[in-house]
Assembly symmetry: C2
Homo-oligomer: 141 residues x 2
Amino acid sequence: MEGRREVDYMSVLKESGIQVTYQRLAIYKALHSSTKHPSAEEIYQKVRKNFPMISLGTVYKSLERFGEAGLVQKVGTMADVSRYHTRADSHHHLFCIKCQSIQDIADPIGGNELSLPDGHGFEILGHDVIIRGYCPQCVEK
Amino acid sequence: MEGRREVDYMSVLKESGIQVTYQRLAIYKALHSSTKHPSAEEIYQKVRKNFPMISLGTVYKSLERFGEAGLVQKVGTMADVSRYHTRADSHHHLFCIKCQSIQDIADPIGGNELSLPDGHGFEILGHDVIIRGYCPQCVEK
DNA sequence: ATTCTTGCAAACGGTTTGCACATAC
DNA sequence: GTATGTGCAAACCGTTTGCAAGAAT
């Protein structure tokens, strides 16, 4: 079971202070070797092929543990609950990572061109910029 | 109950083809007059002061109806489930609004300065750019 | 009169938690 | 031997849905 290919992953986990288990190796590998930003469920399905007994709960717990260690992050989520506004033209925000307040701003890119990778093949409809930091109230503390 | 101040909101709803009720007026007003990007629960609490019988379900249904009519949108949510990745340096994404695929990209702002409003008072830690559109597979259809 | 909306309660689905057993150190 | 992780199931919580009564047109 201690295949050669797991070794780097094992070092990564160890060096991050994370206790190593076969489940965690498999979860981290599944995530790290994918470019698709999978969900917990997708990781679970992938890992299950080699670890039929693994539970989805373990995947969630491991991902959270990885997150605490700075190895893994969620993509594109500001707050945990849906939040709404009425201004169709306002897609750019200052977001306070402490109190989760959100402030509208004008497009901070202004007239500058976005530089995108060649050959991405996307039909671009627009862009949203989220600037993360501490709002005035939370800076002071 | 037909106060003068509701009149503009009534027109807005009517012109968007939305059937007008007092509940919807109150919900739309609560949202439109706030700069805080409230959650459904927060809107519910606010509206409840004037409409003690209103239900949270009505708030959700109304917000969805407003969304269909283009009057309201959720802020900062890509997909509905959490998705993960391992690259701490990758905060910029191409997001397909059809198939919900996500592709990492380098910072599309490059060396350009972000132009922020004066006096925002935020301590800025970083920025995330999400570019919305159709991925190559979904463009073709 | 018909269609749409409301309020209530139940259902749903992604995520978290509690606990007994197993594994890592 | 102690601390931590695993698997399972139940709980949680934001959101959605079904339905009978009520309001809008």
